[in-house]
């Protein structure tokens, strides 16, 4: 409950609208009660009905109440519900800001379906209870004492007895709240399972179809959906009990009125008009009460949801921005790793252990090694996507964790290995990288630089063509080159290239290596690759072992001189090539 109060504080940002809206509630209720009293009195004076003036007055008054009621009702809903939506906007904005700032380790361990459901259905559950829910509750809390109080003045015993069934209702709700809570949580989880399954399926649809798994996926989905159905049915049964209790106590109230009111009427101590008031006010009290029952039913779920939202809001960001500020122009780009070790949160063995390597400003460092050696990890540590467990990483002599992100990430151009693109236009994906508004000429120059000019010209709408989610409508090599263009767009001091030419053909590779070399002129470059030809020209090459240790560091020629992974791999790559070269010569000679 306290947690909901904390969320309610967000509503106070709109206190004027909220207060006005809340004020409308009692006014609307009073008008409503007024009508009942009017009709009751009219009944008692029915014999005077020949008096048309009186009748007109009653009807006019009733009309005025009715209009008042309606106007108040409108403002009540309009003001309060809009405020609740505004709070929703605020919350979602804050959650989104939080999400984009959380480190990758968080995103690694959380399921995106779950995160999305926190931002959507959990926020909605909280909004419902605090916005419209509050409105209904307040409505009930206002009309209840007014009506009962008024009825008290007519017949105290009857009014008192009337409240008894309501206690029955409260008790039942209390008894059932545990069960309701459990079942709503189960329902919530099964919904989240459905969305998780759907998302995985749609994301991997090519694989699903390629393996003809559509039917089995549909069966599995149906199973998940059936679990949800069964949970919903159980929850519905629990709701059935509470509903029966609510309506039962309502009917029981009528029975009390019939008994006590009837007895009093028989005794002639209660005029028929008053009996009418009892009946009609009960009906009017009843609907808000049902609403309260509805809110009480939602409360357990809202509390659970609020907890999930708050958990996300309070998620600590262990990768805090440093305070040391360097102007971006002053960053030279010398990087140094000193005895850096790192183990992934979910990893069993260290991905990097005791790595020490220096890259002077303007130098190129090649990173090679077997699959899973830790090349990407090393690259990710530079931008502090993950934080090294031990050891230090320096940029121009400053420790990276002391640096403001602006100096650190602001000077880095990054080409991820999975070549992620946004589902925006081709051009916007490149502009994404630039800190300034790029001119069309600059964009065109970059497109040319990554050897995509001809291909982009062939796209249906040129560079305004939308690329699908993650760039699915581009070929693998096109995606990679677009990522390179995006990285170059920010004119970085440090260029991080994570296996960025793996999906590019030899001719384009050749072209790109040349282009990157000239682009890398004066920049610090770290390039991870499997094809040694990509790193061959680097000033220094770092060879990582399978377990993430440094096997050797040196230039291409130095590395060839000693025994080890580099020479073996080089020879292997050479052997296949020279073999075919020999064939080439032979065939060429024969021709």
């Amino acid at each position: 409950m306290a947690i909901l109060l904390r969320f309610f504080r967000r509503f106070l940002a709109y206190r004027t609208s909220l207060l006005l809206g809340l004020l409308c509630i009692p006014l609307a209720q009073l008008c409503d009660v007024g009508i009942t009293l009017l009709v009751g009195d009219a009944l008692d004076r029915a014999q005077d009905a020949s008096d048309t003036e009186w009748m007109t007055r009653v009807l006019l008054l009733m009309g005025a109440y009715a209009v008042g009621h309606s106007v108040m009702r409108f403002y009540q809903r309009w003001l309060i519900v809009v405020v609740s939506r505004r709070v929703e906007v605020d919350l979602k904005t804050e959650l989104f800001g939080k999400l984009v700032s959380l480190p990758f380790a968080y995103h690694d361990r959380s399921r995106s379906g779950d995160v999305v459901s926190r931002v959507t259905s959990d926020v909605e559950a909280v909004r419902m209870v605090l916005g419209p829910g509050l409105m209904y509750t307040l409505g009930a809390l206002v009309i209840l004492p007014i009506s009962i109080g008024y009825l008290f003045t007519i017949n105290a015993t009857l009014a008192l007895m009337m409240t008894l069934p309501m206690f029955t209702m409260g008790l039942t709700m209390k008894l059932l709240s545990g069960r309701l809570h459990r079942q709503s949580v189960a329902v919530q989880e099964s919904i989240s399972a459905i969305s998780h399954r759907a998302q995985e399926n749609f994301g991997g649809i090519r694989v699903v179809k390629g393996y003809a798994r559509e039917d089995s996926q549909a069966d599995q989905f149906e199973g998940t959906s059936a679990i949800n159905r069964d949970n919903q049915v159980l929850l519905g049964n629990a709701r059935g009990v509470t509903n029966a209790a609510i309506y039962g106590s309502f009917d029981l109230t009528f029975a009390v009125i019939l008994l006590i009111g009837g007895l009093a009427a028989v005794d002639r101590t209660l005029p028929i008009g008053d009996l009418f008031k009892f009946i009609d006010l009960t009906i009017k009290v009843f609907w808000p009460l049902i609403a309260i029952g509805w809110i009480l039913g939602m409360l357990p779920r809202a509390v659970a949801s609020a907890e999930r939202v708050e958990e996300l809001l309070n998620e600590e960001n262990p990768i805090a921005e440093g305070h040391e500020k360097i102007a971006r122009a002053d960053v030279r780009g010398a990087l140094a790793f000193e005895d850096v070790s790192f183990t992934y949160e979910r990893g069993t063995e260290p991905a990097l252990s005791g790595v020490t390597v220096r890259v002077e400003a303007g130098e190129t460092l090649g990173v090679v090694g077997p699959t899973g050696a830790g090349k990407s990890t090393l690259i990710n540590l530079v931008g502090r996507l993950f934080e090294a467990d031990s050891g230090r990483i320096h940029l121009d002599g400053h420790e990276v964790r002391e640096l403001a992100f602006d100096a650190l990430r602001g000077t880095v151009g990054y080409v991820p290995q999975d070549s992620f693109l946004f589902s925006e236009t081709y051009e916007e994906n490149i502009r994404f990288g630039a800190d300034h508004e790029m001119t069309d000429a600059e964009v065109d120059a970059l497109i040319e630089r990554v050897a995509m000019k001809d291909e982009v010209a062939c796209f249906p709408e040129g560079k305004k063509t939308l690329v699908g989610e993650r760039g699915v409508t581009l070929s693998g090599g096109q995606r990679q080159r677009t990522c390179i263009a995006r990285a170059l767009a920010r004119d970085p001091r440090i260029l991080l290239l994570d296996d960025c030419l793996s999906a590019v053909d030899t001719e384009t590779e050749k072209e790109l290596v040349g282009s990157l070399r000239s682009a890398g002129e004066g920049r610090t470059v770290i390039v991870a690759a499997h094809r040694l030809s990509t790193v061959q020209a680097a000033d220094r090459i770092l060879v990582l072992t399978r377990s993430g240790e440094v096997e050797a560091i040196g230039s291409h020629d130095e590395l060839l001189e000693r025994e080890g992974w580099y020479r073996d791999t080089w020879e292997q790559q050479q052997r296949t090539e020279s073999l075919s070269a020999a064939v080439n010569d032979e065939v060429g000679g024969a021709a």
Binding site: Y75, H107, S225, N237, G240, T371, N380, F422
Partner: protein
């Protein structure tokens, strides 16, 4: 023109698919009818619901009758009597009857909620499964154009909004019409004038709801579409969080998100306004009815000897009549929102796949276990009209042979794979399997014979074993072990905590790219496929491992066909035929040696690679 437009709207990603907003020319009634077809299999549940509702209704009517009886009987009778005892006695009988009635109704009320809910959930579950199943049958062109997050909303929030309608709306609504008629009849029985006057006001109510309907639906439709977009964007940003953070674009994506959020809020505001207005207008109309009833009622009491009991019964009945109308305000909102969702759902169900399964599917002629003969015959293809990607491609993969494809990026190599697996259909020409057009084969049976490694492969959240087996009964423990060995993934799997049972994160995020490829290769080999398709399968794998994989797979795949796409020429030298592609055409073909001899494109590529390696 179109350029100017897209420049003005940089939020291309935020744009909702306008087609989602267009009314699908479906009137409520036909939408309603269509929804009811999903109810048909659950007829019994529906009948049960109606039975419960009818009993409850009768109970409510009886309740008003008891009030009339009690007021006109003992209460009125006692007026002039000296000895009140018999009247008290009579009143107690009435109260007794009332309490008995209440007890019965309370039980019925439980069944009302439980049964209605059960019915609704049953229907909704069917619908959800149907939508998902239908989505599975759609072609990749459909998925290419839609963000995953937005598609997910179709089977989640859209369906949930329907569920609300089924549980709290549609049955009750159907029943309400019956109710209104009966109650009206009873009103007439009590007092014709009173009833007539009441009835005259009903057209007002109907008019109001009709007036609101169009606006409300439009507004809800927009809310649904905006919400789907918002969630889609959130999902997308979560997927690219590394890029966002390293590029320091947190603020930019947040600005985008907020823009989408603002549009969603605006759409919401419209529904709130309509809803806020609808309710008071309805209740004003209700007061009008009540005022008319009061006026006429008092007239009748005085003029025509209407009893007080009858008036109270009339008032209670009126409440029964008015309650559904009042509630309609709430229900209407649910209903309009549900209808908007129903439209979106039916839109998906009405999307016909462009890759159509044949009416009478043929089986692949070659028996499983043997490689079929595959041929591309003068195939042309374009993803988007007027931008041809493949032009007149012809080649064959004879049984047991390996065909390799090389060529510039964007030449259309992966597109060949897309066509071979019938992800898309060729615009002209045909892909033939044992001389039967692919379009006449049973697609899933055909695909099941493939072992596939895509350029962008995908690991599912779940266990490693689930990812490798993929629910295929053909995969035995032995073939799985063999595949893992051949893919050089043994060390990887053994190194995982729990081995094969180890958990895989979404998209395999906790593996390195190369490791993901090893697992994808193992998955492709596990079912002992007849044809293997490898699209840049080892692009992120080191040479030594790659070499070992090649040796192991060629042993494993003896006698099977293969289509191999690679940029590293070393990986395809052993192929029986090599196709060199450029700009959607096959420029050269032959074996490695023949191609080198031809001194064409291939020889040039080769020289380049060689030069790069020794430069």
């Amino acid at each position: 023109m179109s350029e100017a437009k897209s420049e003005k709207e940089p939020g291309g990603a935020l744009e909702i698919d306008r087609s989602e907003l267009v009314a699908t020319k479906v009137w409520d009634t036909s939408l309603f009818k269509r929804l009811l077809t999903y109810a048909r299999p659950h007829r019994r549940l529906f009948l049960k619901s109606f039975a419960v509702l009818s009993l409850l209704f009768i109970g409510e009517l009886l309740g008003t009758r008891i009030w009339k009886g009690a007021i006109d009987g003992p209460v009125a009778g006692a007026a002039d009597a000296e000895d009140k005892a018999p009247f008290v006695q009579a009143l107690l009988w009435w109260v007794g009857a009332y309490v008995a009635l209440i007890a019965a109704m309370t039980v019925l009320r439980y069944f009302q909620t439980a049964t209605l809910n059960k019915t609704g959930q049953a229907v909704v579950h069917d619908l959800r499964a149907a939508v998902f199943r239908h989505l599975q049958s759609l072609d990749l062109g459909f998925f290419d154009r839609r963000p995953t997050g937005a598609l997910v909303t179709r089977v989640t929030t859209d369906i949930e909004s329907l569920s609300e309608m089924f549980t709290s709306g549609i049955i009750a609504l159907l029943f309400d019409s019956v109710k209104v008629l009966v109650v009206l009849g009873m009103l007439f029985a009590i007092d014709v004038d009173l009833a007539l006057i009441t009835m005259l006001t009903t057209p007002i109510l109907i008019g109001i709801s009709l007036a609101f309907r169009g606006g409300a639906r439009r507004a809800h439709r927009e809310v649904r579409a905006r919400l789907a977009r918002l969630n889609g964007y959130l999902q997308e940003v979560l997927g690219g969080i590394r890029v966002v953070q390293v590029f320091r674009r947190e603020e930019r994506v947040a600005a985008r998100f907020n823009e989408a959020l603002a549009r969603y809020f605006e759409a919401n505001r419209r529904t709130i306004f309509l809803f806020a207005l609808f309710y008071p207008v309805m209740s004003l109309a209700v007061y009008l009815i009540q005022g008319a009833a009061l006026w006429a009622g008092i007239g009748s009491i005085v003029g025509k000897g209407l009893t007080y009991g009858e008036f109270v019964q009339f008032w209670l009945l009126l409440n029964m009549l008015v309650r559904p109308i009042r509630e309609l305000g709430e229900r209407y909102n649910v209903l309009q929102s549900a209808f908007a969702s129903a439209e979106r759902i039916f839109q998906v169900l009405d999307t016909a796949p462009t890759v159509v399964p044949p009416a009478t599917p043929a089986a692949v002629r070659t028996a499983p276990g043997q490689a079929p003969h595959i041929a591309f015959e003068d195939v042309c293809f374009s993803y988007v009209a007027d931008t041809p990607v493949l032009r007149g491609i012809s080649f064959e993969i004879p049984p047991g042979k390996t065909v390799a494809v090389v060529g510039a990026t964007g030449a259309g190599k992966s597109t060949l794979v897309n066509l071979l697996l019938r992800y898309y259909d060729a615009s002209s020409g045909r892909v033939a399997v044992d001389d039967v057009d692919l379009r006449e084969l049973e697609t899933s049976a055909f695909r099941a014979r493939f072992g596939l490694v895509l350029q962008e492969d995908f690991l599912f959240a779940g266990s490693v074993e689930e990812n490798l087996v993929m629910d295929r009964s053909e995969v035995s423990a032995a073939s799985l072990a063999e595949a893992i060995d051949a893919a050089q993934a043994r060390d990887l799997v053994n190194g995982l905590e729990g081995g094969l049972a180890a958990e895989v994160a979404e998209r395999g995020a906790t593996f390195s790219t190369g490791e993901r490829q090893l697992l994808a290769i193992a998955r492709a080999l596990a079912a002992e496929p007849d044809v293997v398709v490898l699209d840049e399968a080892t692009a992120a794998v080191d040479s030594a491992t790659e070499h070992r994989i090649e040796r192991a797979t060629s042993r494993l795949l003896a006698g099977r066909s293969a289509l191999v796409i690679a940029h590293r020429l070393s990986t395809i030298r052993g192929a029986d035929e090599i196709l060199v592609m450029a700009r959607g055409e096959i420029r050269e073909r032959g074996t490695h040696d023949e191609l080198l001899a031809a001194e064409g494109l291939y020889a040039k590529l080769h020289a380049l690679q060689y030069a790069a390696a020794s430069a």
